[in-house]
Symmetry: C2
Subunit: 116 residues, 2 copies
């Protein structure tokens, strides 16, 4: 993932309503969640919700699938994994005294620091 694409995704996740929406979808799994269910769960006006979902779709964090009158929103797990990978990339690569990730990160070193 390139920097611009990562920044776009992060910016969209950096809004409480959109982050709530995305988390609700991530929690829901691969089959997706109808817009109406999100609306009921998060109590957001339809026009506002639609606006935010569209932004998530535009940056590739969510896709939509129609089933008759219902639109399902599907979280894009690959995009999330790519984003998380990007944030960890090159962690401590320039560290002068090379202490190793174990010294840097208190928990789950491999998760936050892949140091290839």
């Amino acid at each position: 993932m390139d920097l611009a694409s990562a920044a776009d995704k992060l910016a969209e996740l950096g809004h409480t309503t959109r982050l709530s929406i995305f988390r609700y979808l991530v929690k829901g799994g691969t089959q997706g969640v109808p817009v109406g269910e999100i609306q009921a769960a998060l109590n957001v006006p339809g026009s506002t919700l639609s606006h935010h979902i569209n932004r998530l779709v535009k940056v590739g964090l969510v896709k939509q699938r129609r089933e008759s009158r219902t639109l399902y929103c599907v979280p894009q797990y690959d995009a999330l994994i790519g984003l998380i990978g990007f944030l960890q990339e090159e962690c401590c690569a320039n560290q002068a005294d090379e202490p190793g990730c174990d010294d840097v990160l208190s928990q789950d070193c491999d998760t936050a620091c892949d140091n290839t």
Copy 2:
């Protein structure tokens, strides 16, 4: 980490200049990087750079340490780990047919899906 705090951090990372700064710091390691070095590396005007660094500091992604005339910017790895954890939390918790994370995520299931 709560939702508001995660959204704040994500929003600050959702800007190409700030994301570049943060990555440069993450790459640099725990000892931190002087503001001037960031400026030289990323070629951003001082006032603009200062503004962006301040925003990263305000949400806890960066801390600063002064050494005589030089201000070092230190990335907060804990905050990054917390943020990544937040994004993965409750992944697929509501999934109806319970396929398990292996079916959901192509790579590193434990990373993206802890399903407690």
